[in-house]
Amino acid sequence: MKPENLYHPDAAREFLADGARARWHDQAIWFVRQKRDAQAQQLPEWEELRKLAEQIKAHTLSRLDEYLVQFEENARHNGVTVHFAADAAEHNRIVHQLLAARQVKKLVKSKSMLTEECGLNPYLEERGIEVIDTDLGERIVQLRHEPPSHIVMPAIHLKKEQISELFHAELGTEAGNNDPTYLTHAARANLRQHFLTADAGLTGVNFAVAETGGVVVCTNEGNADLGTALPPLHIASMGIEKIIPRLEHLGVFTRLLARSAIGSPVTTYTSHFHRARPGGEMHIVVVDNGRSDILGNPDFYASLRCIRCGACMNTCPVYRRSSGHSYSYIIPGPIGSTLGPSRDIRKHGSMAFACTTCGSCSNVCPVKINLHEQLILQRKRAFDAGTLKPAKKMGLLAMRFLTRHPALLDTAGKAMRKVVPILPAFVKDGTAWSRPGRELPEMPEHSFKELYRRRQEDKQ
């Protein structure tokens, strides 16, 4: 769970204090963005695909209740039980009841940001059920008792030395052995024992198909598959927005997801669950938890098209330099910065400002969500709700005043260009612009307006 009252600028400053690690984080994630670009370039229809995905999702949201009913009917027809949960508490209660009724002692879980959102793990653990996260990155952060820092690469903020130490303490691996292959295989052996002895498996859902009543789960590790093929009970938890109308639409989304997420043509396993394994049972919990409120908001409902690929965070210059742990909502980066404030502007207002409005997120998003525009609107809400710290609020008010009085803005700009260069260093060092690693820019002699006017005159 995220700490209460996390304020993005403060948390980011903490992350940036270790300059070398911050640089490494930035580069590791930028590398994934580049792999995504290489994949996109290989498909001449890439932009067409994004358009199709956007339209399919937009259409689905416009009939979401109908598709959910159709999904439920078809799932029931397959012998699968569908449950509806209005909020996190109801979701956790349903899952717990299913487990308790079957005396489940151990649950193996595949990565699911939804259960993270609902706080399922602590809820079940308090009730005596052992919960094992099985995605390697997810397992690492579980053993460290911290939330994931990325929705696709949960442990991207960690160096292998840290993981080696953790595994030495928790799994008894050799001290000082930092080899990723060695560490991965040690986790594999340990987790396989959990798969073989678990009484139930829980997965998230990437896509739920209304037409067939089944769910699709995409992983590279195969953890969702082992976790559902071995134990007799499979519970799938999904947000209401995971629905797509028809099977054939998977031919659009499965082409976009892994390419956008990790720059791979597809995930190793794209698994379609329509019935429980023989002798087992399957349940699907459909969760609202605030989503239908967002659906009713014309400024923000497009965020429900999200397929959780993570491409927007990989490209975001702020995310790469501040890490997922500096965002107060469980989902970080551009998409989290609109979803979080949509849910609770008082708690997550600062996230809307973790953005340069460069628009890169909107450009890579496979379902074409207008992320940076939403973030600007969220800023306005944060301002109106009075969630800003006084300095930021005063700055914005001053800026608003100046932009509404152009003559004053010109004068202020002129004054700044004259005064800043002659200020003593100790005054400049105190500003937000001159933290270690960044300095106030050189002041130009002329303003943009002056330069522009002169160019126009030269042209004549």
Partner: protein, 188 residues
Amino acid sequence: MSSRDAMLAKIRRNRPEGPALPDIHAVPFVTFDDKFAAFAGLIRNLGGEAVMLAEGQTVAEVVARRWPNPGRVVDLTLMQHAEAFTPHDWQDVDIAIVPGDLAVAENAAVWISHPDNIFRSLYFLTEKLVMVVPRDKLVDTMRDAYGQIAIREHGFGAFIAGSSRTADIEQSLVMGAHGAMAALVIFC
């Protein structure tokens, strides 16, 4: 009112306007002159290998040449194969040979689905996975693939592309996370 009905009513109230469903077949998708070459080239990066069966060659021969000391082998392409009573019975399988219905050139994925779902755990518990696909069942993209599979009939099906892998430790790619450590696709 039940949670279900309350949720659906609220969604109905809040749902926005939206476009009609687009025709996903109206857009031309990529095609490959040599689908096998595209498939075989891709799967190498995904921890797998693809071979085309030569005249007179058998699947068993290819597998034996690749892994001379096979250990426990389960071959689902044969009519007669080992019986399983629980899905856990496959935990010590070294090589599983399974039929694949079709393969996709754009991403090296093979569609795996079996009428007897007790075999489902085998695909993921085995150390090495061999997928045998008819050579005329190679399609260009996932769109073509979904046009050909009957998804509901067996209750479970998966596209499998190469071997199980992860890059969760410092972005280093490691083969063999939870599922098969190696994958071999044989087109017959």
